[in-house]
Amino acid sequence: MPWQRETFKKIKQIPREEHVLPGTSLCAGCGGLEALRLAAKVLGDDVVYVNAAGCFTMLAAYPFTPFKGSWLYTTMGSAPAGAQGVRDALDVLIAKGRLPQRDDLKVVVLGGDGSTYDMALSSTSGAIYRGLDFYYFCYDNEAYGNTGVQLSAATPYGARTTTSPCSLQHPAGTIQEKKDIFEIWRAHKPPYIATVAPRYPLDLAEKFARAATFTGPKLFLALSACPTGWLYDPGETPEVAKLAVETGLWPLKEAINGAVTHTYLPKRKPVEEYLKLQGRFRHLFEPTKQEEAIRHIQERVDAYWQRVTV
């Protein structure tokens, strides 16, 4: 039986109210911001965002903030520990009657892939291990984006970044495979993990609504198509984000208490359609087409879907 959305069946059901207001200093066409904007429609205003260093740091730049909720900027390596401190203190203050229950907040970590996959992994592991009740929102643009697009552990095979250039030795650019953070989280046995993409708003909203029913660590890996780092026109973000899913490169899925369900089964267009739109993969197509590298990416996607759909 295919996955059924229970709360959000029609686009009209998504709240119209905005909780992340426009006019931020993020790049035009930021896919991560779009995902966050949609997520906030479900999360609401009673939130404290605990931010790790990354692109989203620029969301709150004195004296402005786009949030109606609260914000705490911690460090790149310890936002989940910051969430721990806020959650624990809220619990203690409510238990002691110094804060009324109605003043409670959802605690949401915002981290880029650099923080999530690398520097904050130890502090994230600790927070999941302790069963911390929090949301982790990772905007994954597959590079250290805020510093000018360097290799991160989320950068996929074949992408060019400023620290994984394509050269004679490495004509494909990045030669590592993307770290599977979804499975790393799953191994910690949290109640809820999901991948989302802003071009699938009902899927995204449904997942945030479901996650709210679980106490404990909840991960959202949000595909964050990035015109600045992926080198395409900002107007093409919707198309790029859509093709990431439709080619099967970005599977939409969730894991409830460890059981994985794919929430959308794409017909799977050739990965080439996605790759050729982006400057970070241009070297795979010109001056000569790197058939082998493209085939490698395609085979990896095929193998993934074969494994999960059989």
């Binding site: 705490l72 310890s78 502090s123």
Partner: protein, 411 residues
């Protein structure tokens, strides 16, 4: 009034318990561990109505502590040495958040080589992080300083975290009589933590630690921190007066010993100052007019009190239990800079380095320090840095080197 025999670590735990802290994110490190063990047990058995959470590192611990305090809880935590350095990045963050938590550091020398015993390179490395620093000499002072630390940190004129330092082994594991203050009197001294400008809550959202663009707001906020730290001198005076009134014990930012007619003054901090006092007594018995100045509060730097204590002396000798390689002592630089503008500054400032990695300072070495201060004062010219290292220690080291090279030759 007789006290209970307890270690400096247990005294620190009692300080947190009496302060009625709400939240203790913790991570163990020798020689601090006994503090968090005691607190874990008290939270578990209900003696303390606080939440104790074992964290995954000092970096996380310090972040959780800062975030908890930013949410409005009274927070305590403790570390030592490499742990303090692991938390270093976050020290600057939480000070910038202007959260009034208290961090105890049990001083321990830094790797490499690795050791468990104390000196002050760990805590002094943190002196510019925005934390205020109180350095304790006795187990009683450890407990009392924690109560004073919350009172100062939470004052609206300050709102900065405070680090209370005690020496590993010399205090952490040394039992001394400690009077545990009466909780009702503590309540009179330390009001409940009800921060006016902190707290994440639905009804009053706020943003903390936001980015600033350009140097203008950055400079403004940093300078506000500086002014707040300087305010702590006045707040400390008030807290010390109230503390003395309620508990009968007086603590000042600096503490003089036999200073009245002293020609030469030895400057020290922390537990080794007790050895310094004994050395002053011994020198006095031989007719030498020597006194001691103990630095108790290192941040804010009590410049006026230091100048007042050292003005007009013949010579000052600063005994640094730290080493800035390529420079010498850390505190002597601050003392020299502080005295420079005083027209009646001492004629000579001598710099001594000792007690590194817990190494003892022997009586004979204090004799030599006193003699050299006298000599420098008469000559009107300071000296140093002088590394205190006895002939016996040279011989001991030579023997270790013989063993090391012999075992190498065996291979």
């Amino acid at each position: 009034m007789a006290g209970e025999m307890m270690t400096g670590n247990l005294a620190a735990a009692w300080g947190a318990r009496l302060a009625g802290v709400d939240y203790i994110p913790a991570f163990p490190i020798t020689p601090q561990t006994e503090i968090v063990e005691a607190l874990a047990e008290w939270c578990d058995c209900g003696a303390m109505p606080a939440r104790f959470v074992m964290m995954d590192s000092e970096h996380s611990m310090m972040t959780a502590a800062g975030a908890g305090a930013a949410t409005g809880a009274r927070v305590f935590t403790a570390t030592s040495s490499q742990g303090l350095l692991h938390a270093f990045e976050v020290l600057y963050s939480v000070a910038g958040w202007r959260v009034p938590l208290v961090l105890v550091n049990v001083s321990r020398a830094l790797a490499a080589p690795i050791t468990l015993e104390p000196d002050h390179n760990d805590v002094l490395a943190a002196r510019d992080a925005g934390f205020l620093q109180i350095h304790a000499e006795t187990c009683q002072e450890v407990l009392d300083s924690i109560l004073m630390a919350y009172r100062i940190a939470e004052d609206e004129r300050v709102m900065l975290p405070v680090l209370v330092n005690l020496d590993g082994f010399y205090l952490s594991f040394t039992r001394e009589p400690v009077i545990v203050p009466d909780p009702e009197k503590v309540a009179a001294f330390l009001p409940p933590f009800r921060p006016a400008h902190l707290g994440f809550k639905a009804s009053a959202p706020h943003a903390l630690g936001v980015a600033v663009l350009g140097g203008t707001p950055y400079t403004y906020f940093r300078h506000q921190m500086h002014l707040a730290a300087m305010n702590a001198l006045q707040v400390h005076r008030e807290a010390a007066a109230d503390f003395e009134r309620l508990f009968g014990r007086r603590y000042d930012v600096v503490e003089g010993y036999r200073l009245d007619d002293a020609e030469d003054v030895l400057v020290m901090s922390n537990a080794f100052a007790t050895k310094g006092r004994a050395a002053v007594d011994a020198a006095r018995a031989k007719g030498r007019r020597v006194g001691l100045l103990r630095l108790r509060v290192i941040r804010p730097w009590p410049a006026e009190a230091i100048v007042a204590a050292l003005r007009g002396r013949r010579a000052v000798g600063v005994l640094d239990q730290n080493l800035a390689p390529g420079l010498g002592g850390i505190l002597v630089q601050e003392i020299a800079a502080t005295l420079y503008h005083d027209p009646e500054r001492p004629k000579a400032i001598c710099s001594f380095i000792g007690g590194l990695g817990g190494k003892n300072i022997h009586e004979g070495e204090f004799d030599a320090i006193v003699a050299r201060m006298e000599q420098a004062g008469k000559a009107g010219r300071g000296e140093g840095p002088v590394l205190l290292y006895t002939e016996a220690e040279h011989r001991e080291m030579a023997q270790l080197q013989v063993l090391a090279s012999a075992s190498r030759a065996d291979r």
